[in-house]
Symmetry: C2
Subunit: 245 residues, 2 copies
């Protein structure tokens, strides 16, 4: 391979594993970029100044997280703009099918969509190199927005039983659409299927690398266990709000 | 004055000057908050991934600047949310009258609106206490977005004479509307008139305080010199883009 040809390839050892890792990093970076855009919209739509200020801070924090993840893409030899761009249309269907009609529906949409996508990324992150995994875990664990949504939705729900039952219905629809996005991501990105099917690296830095090049399985093979986990976590999150999943 | 009554008042010495300073700080904070929202919209509308990433970084930086200014409002004994909220509707007319129909019109709108408002705030900042003035100058001098707009508009204009003449026309309309916003701000906020009419503090920390309580003049008295300066600066900015103001 010539130097010029290598420029597009990861430059570290363990190329196959790095290619998969870059794909996951780019997905997380894309989701943080989307979160930024959504939080900025939320900030513009929020009824009170205090909410506007707080939501814009969360939007800014998403940009910082996204850029940390993109820096790791660069470290592994990937092209951040090209890799993040590959996910540009992933959420188009989700967005057009889940237009919120109220502030509460909007809050719940973020809560459900981020919950499902973060869980998916956390599972896939179990199979990458230690440094990437630590970074991804930090980024995914930053749950400040979820706390805000929980507090607001709980206090709204405690005063309004009709709202609670409407939001429970909305939450079920959102979960179905969000799981559809996961399926679509797996179908379009075989690297993600490989990561989800690879044994988690756990504490060992070598396990993920060892798994590279192993038979990846298909999106369908990944499905039952993965979707079971994602659904269980969604149910747990909804019950935190007092909503039936 | 009772302790309870004092709670709503600035708690430092030189109360009258601080009240005016807080009003200016809140205006700058509001404008940074608006810049955040606009940059976030720009990021969503930008045609290329690289622009999306860069614009979202600028949006995040505006949040950081806003919060630095709001921290100073708190230091001077003001209520950041209430003070920033007082400007919530200032730009409504400007926004509805200057809906951009292209990406270039959008870029130029930001360039003109931020140029005029930053110039106004810089002039008013000449009359506040030194610490606030240093902070405001730092915040207002952060011209990263202007650089981006200049580069993009220049390179677009160099290839398209029709675009240049359309943008020159658009720029004149934007300047008129932006000066209208300044007039509206002065009419609604006597503190800003006092600052603009007060002799600039220059290097002396005492001058602004000395000016407090002096006859403020009216918005109309402030007008000729102020609007002359704002227009001259606008003309200079447009010529940087090769546009006739």
């Amino acid at each position: 391979m010539t130097e010029a040809a290598r420029a597009d390839q990861p430059r570290t050892s363990g190329d196959a594993a790095d290619v998969d890792t870059i794909e996951l990093l780019a997905l997380v970076a894309h989701l943080q970029h989307v979160a930024f855009g959504r939080l900025a919209e939320d900030a513009a739509a929020a009824p009170h100044v205090a909410q506007q200020l707080e939501l814009s801070r969360l939007a800014a924090a998403a940009v910082v997280r996204r850029d940390r993840v993109l820096a790791r893409v660069t470290e592994l030899g990937g092209d951040p703009e090209a890799r993040i761009g590959a996910y540009a249309e992933l959420l188009d269907d989700f967005d057009s099918r889940t237009q919120p009609s109220t502030w509460w529906e909007r809050l719940l949409r973020s809560y459900v969509a981020e919950g499902v996508s973060d869980d998916f990324c956390r599972i896939a992150a179990g199979a990458v190199d230690e440094r990437s995994r630590v970074l991804l875990t930090e980024v995914l664990d930053d749950a400040a927005h979820a706390e805000l949504a929980v507090a607001e939705l709980e206090s709204a729900g405690s005063q309004d039983a009709v709202l609670v039952s409407r939001l429970a219905l909305w939450g079920r629809r959102l979960a179905g659409e969000a799981l559809g996005v996961v399926q679509q991501a797996l179908a379009g990105h075989p690297a993600l299927v490989r990561l989800v099917n690879r044994p988690a690296a756990g504490g060992s830095a070598d396990a993920a690398v060892t798994g590279a090049g192993a038979p990846a399985g298909t999106a369908d093979e990944a499905a039952p266990r993965l979707f079971g986990e994602l659904t269980a976590e969604h149910t747990r999150r909804m019950s935190r709000l007092g909503l039936t999943a």
